[in-house]
Chain length 147, copies 6
């Protein structure tokens, strides 16, 4: 199989969010020369979720601030992750719900064949629910794109 | 917060899929009296994914075989997880793609207040791509429902 | 208001489906010169639902068999009604569910201003659920279009 | 069939909206021990429709104000009803349209088997169209969930 | 085939947008008695795109300002064109993107059979992307409806 | 603006489909070193449309037969173009409709900055409608991706 078991960037990004101690995972990332960042965002405005991830990935050097093609790759990976988060309509406040989310972006080469180059994974995990503390349940999304 | 950190069924179901050794997680599940099952399915037909999860959850006693309300709760949790897997159209073969998936279903009480009762989490993880081995990337979905 | 209270074709089509004795409603329809038809269809194949409504509307003279513009108007009204029936993905068997439906098509002039001309309403009501008798709940959809 | 003909909560909720005199229906509801409420909302903001139904159902005692699981059940029933109302994008003002709606929420036991417990139906009916009086047509939606 | 090759209103509307010199096309339109208009709009608010097209079509006499049925036909043609522009969610600013668009509306009779009457085509072409100049790519949409 | 006016690959791909004589356009493509292909497909099965475009692009050398990342880039561009073609549900036969389509794939560098590298455009144009000759109208879609 072309997808290398130890280099699954989506699984890696998700575990970064779900494990309490992610030092081991972060070390592993550095050793194989991947780039990654972590962040959090809470909002009723979906654009703030998109912006928070884009800003973090650019400021922490996961994608280039200069190249549109990298922004484009990240943007579509975020959109795909938001499908998992929103499950039907990519809307938050306009359907009367809010989110409290953490996210991880991982950039690396998941395939055995080096020619497959770099890919990007966006994992998002947190809670979604009514704009009242506690009226919420878990939500998770993952987007993958070539970059 | 009403959602108990140690009893997040969605996180639990996802970790069951992503960690190599899930014995510890499974033990933990049994100790707090949760029910869970694991399974796998590969297909170009989306209904086979739905059916595989429903059959596993019923045969392994996670939901009742008798009550429609439990089937209904599970069904909508599966649909929500499939939003994360398919990211836009809940279609596989009809848009020329196939999946190789593992899934976990966890039933438990994630909230501090006992009156919130039981909830169900469906986590699905694997690969999606062209019907050619290797032309695929990771995909992940999570659905949560009250049961 | 331009929409005449007594000539709401959508409400009329829905009541034709929901009331046990629809003779009074049918008489009323004839008196104001509207055209209507009733039918039923059960299937796991969404295209059979579309076809059943199109065939009934053509055979019972609600729309012309000759004009594409009338078929087009009816088709989009059916699609809109199916949004209410399927609530997210316009799929039946491919997401492991089946329907047992009755439908009504009403063609008339719902607006006070005669220049607004004829419109068409497609109402669909029945059950949707797992392909096992009894594992199902109600579902309803309404589509409206100018014709 | 497990769904009791006389206890179809979705049909009941819809008829509450569509019949001019709903006293008979309301009496019938009380006799079998169901809970229900009626309300109306007009807006270009979709969240106001969601909020109006949630507030009415809580204030009139159809669902508990304390339990998230009941809010969750109602929320997803509202979302399903809004699929019928919006037919494609769950958006109002952002696609330049407005609604004038009435809604009914009914909570009861529609199945012969008592173990199936309580379910909730949200029916919404009214007009949708351009933000100009009269440039509008009928719209209808129904959502059903276990509670 | 019923669709006349020289009278394809969708192709015509699209060419009006894509060719640098559209005088020849505009003349051709007038000779066969079609109505058409051109316009442009840039925004992060999707309703402004809808409004710009509706206003242009009414002010330039492509559709009647008096008849709702013509507004309704145009509205759904715009919605269909926006599916091509937005490719998944009919949202702009709320998913952190903006558009710079030109549009053409053409009203004519594309079918050999005169009884098929008038139809309307809405073509939209331009750029979509991040709210930063240059971080954008092309986008195109076409909607067709009977009027 | 970063998008070069003369190198808009989406506009170019669309004009290849819409102009009767595309020799001039094809010459222009060769001169600037772009790759492109043209093809046609008619079907009620959506996967056949996807397959036809993928096969043509690989056989005519527009994308590599070896690299998954190129197949992935093309696949998502096709999906985006199909949003324009299907306008709501990416389904053909399952909602009782069929298509007769021509398509163009263009690969080139549309941005002034050479570092933005290669992008791919998929344009699709033709008719969509009932599975009866003549009961159809035009449809158009465009997808753009980095490659
Ligand atoms: Mg992909
Ligand atoms: Mg939920
Ligand atoms: Mg309409
Ligand atoms: Mg249901
Ligand atoms: Mg159409
Ligand atoms: Mg894009």
């Amino acid at each position: 199989m072309a997808l290398k078991k130890e280099q699954r960037i989506g699984r890696h990004a998700t575990l970064l969010l779900l494990t309490d101690d992610h030092r081991e995972l972060s070390q592993q990332t550095e050793q194989i020369g991947w780039k990654s960042c972590l962040g959090k965002v809470g909002s009723m405005e979906s654009q703030k979720v998109v912006a928070a991830i884009e800003v973090a990935a650019k400021q922490q050097g996961v994608i280039s601030q200069e190249l549109y093609r990298e922004t484009h790759a990240l943007y579509h990976a975020i959109m795909e992750a938001l499908h998992g988060i929103t499950r039907g309509q990519m809307q938050l406040g306009s359907v009367m719900r809010t989110v409290g989310l953490r996210f991880a972006v991982v950039r690396g080469n998941p395939y055995e064949d080096e020619a497959e180059g770099e890919w990007i994974a966006v994992a998002i995990y947190g809670t979604i629910g009514a704009p009242v503390r506690g009226l919420e349940h878990e939500t998770l999304g993952l987007g993958i794109n070539h970059i």
